[in-house]
């Protein structure tokens, strides 16, 4: 559906990364991670314990939001089918920069136990830039929190630049995406 009437068809521009007081703002970004959890697979069941009383991710400033517009972190929780990959791409591109992606579980790393499935994307980082992988099948909430700690560290150090990579190498990512998504029905660029 390549209709300009409904969708903005402009290519997203590259964004300069440096700014004044960068460290301070990176600290703020690290301390305030709003998560949109995309429940693609079995990992989504691990998110509720993470944010509720037992593990309480909110003490790190990690909280849930219901819309990609306000989110900083996209959690891909488990195996990705081709069908869900489309949605992940759309959600990811609808998020506002800076944005980070956390891949949960072995399936996002290399397909995990579904490595030979006709329908599971093996290497998620070919399609969206993943800042942190959390291994496990499934990872426990502790592990996810550890992953978030890693992410915060990376953000503070300014190394969590997956969103920038994505903008810089948009063509490469698009090529990969279009290889598996045979019928590219979503708009060219998701805004």
């Amino acid at each position: 559906m390549k209709d300009n009437k409904y969708f903005l068809d402009d290519r997203p521009e590259k964004i300069s990364y440096s700014e004044v007081w960068q460290k301070f703002f990176n600290w703020a970004r690290a301390k305030s991670l709003w998560v949109v959890a995309y429940g693609t697979g079995c990992g989504s069941i691990e998110i509720p314990p993470m944010v509720t009383s037992r593990f309480d991710a909110e003490r790190f400033g990690v909280s849930n939001v219901g819309t990609p517009r306000q989110a900083d972190v996209l959690i891909i929780s488990g195996y990705l089918a081709v069908k869900t990959l489309k949605r992940v791409i759309r959600v990811y591109e609808q998020m506002q920069s800076p944005k980070y992606v956390v891949g949960l579980g072995a399936c996002t790393v290399n397909g995990g136990m579904y490595y030979d499935s006709y329908n599971t994307v093996n290497l998620v980082d070919q399609y969206v830039p993943i800042d942190v992988f959390v291994a496990g099948c499934m990872p426990r909430p502790e592990a996810i929190l550890a992953g978030f700690a890693q992410l915060m560290k990376k953000i503070k150090e300014g190394r969590a630049d997956g969103w920038k990579q994505y903008l810089d190498n948009l063509d490469k990512y698009r090529k990969n995406q279009e290889k598996v998504i045979k019928n590219w029905k979503i708009p060219n660029y998701n805004w």
Binding site: K83, N110, G111, Y115, S117, N122, L123, Q126
Partner: protein, 179 residues
């Protein structure tokens, strides 16, 4: 249950009777032409009002598809599986939507995953779980899913994909059974 099967035997030709793994599960194989009559009879006279599932098995060695219609009776709390075989080269059958409208979805699923064509089902050609699938139906056993996965989704140059995990797992379970 016995009586039901006897009554059924009197009316229809039962090819084969099996006892299920559970106490309240019976499996009957009937001829494919009499399936609608059997289902209709069971639904109307024997309280099997609920069609729990329609499933398919690919017997590639016999060159056949098995279609299983799993029925459930709320009154007697028993399952009854009616199975039929259809030709694998000509995977076609008639829909049972006239008896159980919910079969529409099951048949759509089977159509997508096995390629069995159900005549009379209006929505069977719509996408069910797969989007834009251009290979042979993926649950057929002649579809090489590993090859497809490797070609399509690539590899991280690790040892994982070269190992036949299926075999390791089956070996392991066999060993466990022997114990």
């Amino acid at each position: 249950m016995e009586q039901t099967i006897k009554k059924l035997e009197n009316i229809f030709k039962i090819v084969k009777k099996e006892k299920g793994k559970r106490e309240n599960l019976n499996i009957l194989e009937v001829e494919k032409d009499s399936l609608h009559a059997v289902l209709s009879y069971l639904r109307d006279n024997e309280s099997f009002k609920h069609l729990a599932l329609v499933s398919c098995v690919d017997w590639i060695e016999d060159n056949k598809f098995q279609l299983s219609y799993i029925l459930w009776s709320y009154q007697r709390r028993v399952n009854l599986i009616i199975k039929i075989f259809i030709d694998r080269d000509k995977p076609e059958f008639k829909t049972i939507m006239n008896l159980f409208p919910q079969a529409e979805v099951y048949e759509r699923e089977i159509k997508e995953l096995y390629g069995v064509n159900f005549e009379g089902n209006p929505t069977q050609d719509e996408e069910f779980v797969l989007e834009d699938w251009d290979q042979i139906p993926p649950m057929r056993r002649d579809f090489d899913t590993l090859k497809y996965s490797n070609e399509m989704f690539g590899d991280r140059d690790s040892e994982v994909k070269k190992t036949n995990i299926r075999k390791i797992i089956s070996d392991y379970t066999d060993e466990w059974r022997r114990k």
